[in-house]
Symmetry: D2
Subunit: 359 residues, 4 copies
């Protein structure tokens, strides 16, 4: 109810602050007897880790995921999983100035208006560090999707105005920005380097692709698969827009152009982005998220203090130049969480009639 | 759980099909002692009514809202409200062909894959007619927002490629398309008329503006106000994208350009769209939704039948050329539902300390 | 959130008042392709009907269930079901006195304190008539349980001090009080007749037995099967106590007496009442509910009016002498709703490994 | 959904196993700016601690509650609280035998049938130790109730057949069994000592009394206050029955005897137990819970192994003779959780009209 839970059956609840003891997540609704060890989390936690790329914050953290409950003899038991990620390198002294002054573009001001009291150290609860718990939960969601053959992959389409042109998914992990066009990736390095010198920040676009999603996921009329995906993505900080399939481009198409003809071998095009009437149709799911430039910059900005008086802020904290690339595994995690949850939801009311699902 | 409910405290559950007995909604969580009569629903039901504009379907319906429970002596009692809208002009014979053949761009195929059985008459549950219940519920949500001074207004920014340029909100109700630029509205009439002749359909963009929203609404980290608004909007059929504030444009701004400086009199700009860290900041909330062209067209299309065999479909049903203008009051309703719910949620944990909310 | 919904996956939301247009329920989460027609509701609605027995209110109602949505061609579609039961014989004039004066033992006073406004005609929302919607929903829940071989049967153990001794389940429907001991049933007729003459009312005990419940239903640690059953039963008006298995008698047993030994053929006794650790163990589930005497009596009682002034009330409305026998199908319905919901919940996280479920 | 969460607004999710790293709870929905330190937990954790009384298990644990998130500078922030209680003295070797054989009266068998895999060490998830997290959460709930003047106190009415007669609430904390009759408490010591010699166990009855509960809490028709209390209490292991007010005794009263007359000074009697129509009426709330004898005994018992073969079990683990007295603070905690949640729920839809609440 207070907003820190997500999902209906595969339900996660996150907790923790940027400069408190750590971040964590409780997963209630994970099926029993799924193999799970702490090694399973390493890949995605490393991909999300700060300092992994020139664009990222120099703050170093091991970000090891501790399985505190719900696993016995390396297998899930059906009891709630608690995953915990301790904070280690978390010097909160630089943030003392934020006790009085609101950072533009951050949640400082709105949190103060809502709660009157909050842990402002490094953004506290609304720090991007909160997403570490999401990534950990996404790994477990992936364990449900893997046996189904569902693959979720995200990558950078645009950063600081530089766009990927030739998309080769096999190159994603070779790019510092998870960009499937290494030439564009090279240019992104340059523009990021410039922005760093200017003490400024950059925005970008990430595309998320789901291959192998079975038809039939999504619950009309409000928990449509696209609606839940939109919420999942918009719930990530710095995201200001989300679109599916043809998205905003569909606005200028005619119905005859935008409709995807159906053939015995599948859809002839995919303007729908894999979802019709809120239900997956078996085609690839395609989503794009628009990230604003991260609000943390070292330039002086106009603001006010807690008493409403005008103030100037030049805050030289450690921060990323862009939410890309670290946001890429976060968006993958959010999509996995939605899909795993909807898959389990579909099982609940499934009539076990395999016939209708095939041709 | 099966997706037909929305909201946490002000919680609606809709039901009904396009060609069944009618559409309805149960509202559980409406505060007691709010004056409410059936006349309160007339304005928005008329604005949503088919046939009100050249772009709309010629199907005529009274769409009167019947209050079946929860109101006594014209005042809400705190018991659940049931609002019912009977179907009247609902000839389902033309839809008999859809028993076997899937319409491209509609939910026919995905519903079949999910349920194996569904009411295909006029789209059944996934008909745009389902939104009538949303509009009715939105009227009640509005009764909660009105005393707070919150105003929600939506309008057409673009239709079939024609864009509004000079925005004058006072003109919205004078336009057949709820377009705040009457010159653009005139051009939209023309392009709609052409599309009708071509038996094709059009997409568009609607902007939703919220004035007077108090600071402090939204529940981090998943039920952020922007996340819940994104879900609400994406849950409306034909919407393929949603953005807030600067939206996709923010991608190309620097942090120093995109951050909204804070002054004692408020924010100097509003790239944030009125929401920071997922919580309303007191500024106007600004959202935009991208609508695909409605999939119902009278041109012949390639498809398959229920046995997976190739087929041709030319379906001459009654339909709108675009979801605009009828979607405009629907989007207003969805935003009202989110705001009323979050307002009640904020009351639940409010510490009644008015001091912190002011300067 | 406002309390009119029950269940997580098979989720019902009821609405309506005793003297309004009618009572109804929306069921969201009913699996598709279950055969369902209005005839399916007749048996239980008749069993719950007022006037069917000497103990019951003389108010006559057809109580026909109208399927308003969610069924197409006599089969559920997966869309929400709305079931409606119109009020017909509902003369509300006698209740006008209740505008000012609170009836002892009823919800009048507490509703007034909570809402400040309510439909007091015949109890309005807190009338026993509200249970009609529960019974209708229970019929649909039964459609999910029937194919599993789960049988839910309730019967009267005690009424007005008369206890059933020889339990023969085959006699239940032959008793006016659904009492499995016809000799006791005869005595109940007498004591009810006397209470009617004295214008007083009676309490009783109903036992609910579930045969054929599969092992594995229930979700620890809060949604234990017994916990959800206790809530379901206690949510029915006039119920003041609920126990499972040995219940309050277990208090005086030693562990060695109360533990049910396990054998290859099953449990040697059933003090547990079919549930261990909150999860069904495959044995019969046995519950008992204690009903207070209905608060409606025609004797003069001390009370106060809305201004807090002392008053006398002698209210000669139509009412039952006891909640038995009409509560019997209501309790069956509540148990069915819990079981159907937990069955669907168990399907969601089931690992499809039939081996572990057998020996 | 998987049952480890409780409450709607003040929502807790517990996790952890008896012999894993520890037990914990996440509280989402705690209002901001409530003073909270780890010292606040000491009193109730000590009262629940094993080994505090002769009846209790000799296992020693500090059971210190660590506040891992949601508190900043000793005040709640509105972010989720995570409270953690580490396991320390947890030798799991004696439980190795339970890998193959089910203990009668415990959840071993039903967990195996449900999950096929579980942490059987010391009962794992269904150990009574799980209630430590409930007690910790109850302390925070108490912080919401205290300023309202709501007092929740539980005490032992009966243990092993010995009943309290003269109830003096001021003596509760002087009794090893939280029994308000010290003479009875003395007899309880004796009977417990005897049961320990016999290697057997005992059941009992606990009464829970709430003083100062405001009128108006509870949400009809399913989330009635008594229904939610019944669920809360029944969700505690070893509870087999719950009653409110006159409870099972009401069955033998006439309506004229059971109805509580209303006077300008309040109710003349309290058979209702403080709740009418599911809503608190301002009078004391009175509940009773029936506890079965704890299933852990050292006598030999008949059972089966995982292959379904007959087996004998004599398990000499550490265990309590009765769930009393340690269950007493657990039941207090459960009642506090329900009341705090319903209080916040009532705030959400409160119309802020203090007038109606008074006379």
């Amino acid at each position: 109810m207070a907003g820190n839970s997500f999902g209906r059956i595969f339900r996660i609840t996150t907790f923790g602050e940027s400069h408190g003891n750590g971040l964590g997540v409780v997963i209630d609704g994970c099926p029993p007897r799924i193999p799970l060890t702490r090694e399973d989390f390493v890949r995605d936690m490393v991909r999300r880790r700060p300092g992994a790329a020139p664009v990222a914050s120099p703050r170093k953290e091991a970000d090891q995921v501790e399985i505190q409950s719900g696993v016995f003899e390396d297998i899930t038991t059906g009891a709630p999983l608690m995953l915990f990620i301790r904070n280690q390198d978390a010097d909160s002294r630089p943030y003392e100035v934020l006790r009085e002054v609101f950072r533009p573009g951050h949640g400082d001001y709105s949190y103060f208006r809502k709660y009157g009291h909050f842990d402002f150290r490094g953004g506290g609860r609304y720090s991007a560090r909160e997403t570490a718990a999401r990534v950990a939960a996404g790994v477990v969601a992936g364990k449900i999707l893997d046996p189904l053959g569902v693959k979720v992959v995200a990558y950078t389409l645009e950063l600081g105005g530089v766009k990927a042109k030739d998309i080769d998914l096999s190159l994603i992990e070779k790019s510092l920005f998870f960009c499937p066009d290494l030439l564009a990736s090279k240019k992104m390095e340059e523009i990021v380097s410039n922005a760093r010198k200017e003490e400024n920040s950059l925005g970008g676009i990430v595309e998320i692709l789901v291959k192998g999603c079975p038809a039939g996921l999504g619950e009309p009329v409000f928990d449509k698969l696209d609606a839940d995906l939109a919420k999942a993505i918009m719930s990530v900080g710095t995201v200001k827009g989300v679109e599916i399939g043809a998205g905003f481009e569909a606005v200028r198409l005619r119905g005859s152009e935008n409709n995807d003809p159906i053939t015995p071998k599948g859809f002839r095009s995919n303007h729908a982005g894999g979802i019709l009437g809120g239900i997956s149709n078996g085609d690839d799911i395609v989503l794009r998220a628009a990230m604003k430039p991260v609000p943390s910059i070292n330039l002086e900005q106009d603001t006010i203090d807690r008493k409403g008086q005008p103030s100037k802020l030049r805050f030289a904290g450690r921060h990323d130049i862009a939410s890309i690339p670290r946001i890429v595994p976060v968006l993958e995690a959010m999509v996995k969480l939605v899909l795993a949850d909807h898959y389990l939801r579909s099982k609940a009311i499934d009539s076990n009639d395999s016939q209708r699902r095939q041709f």
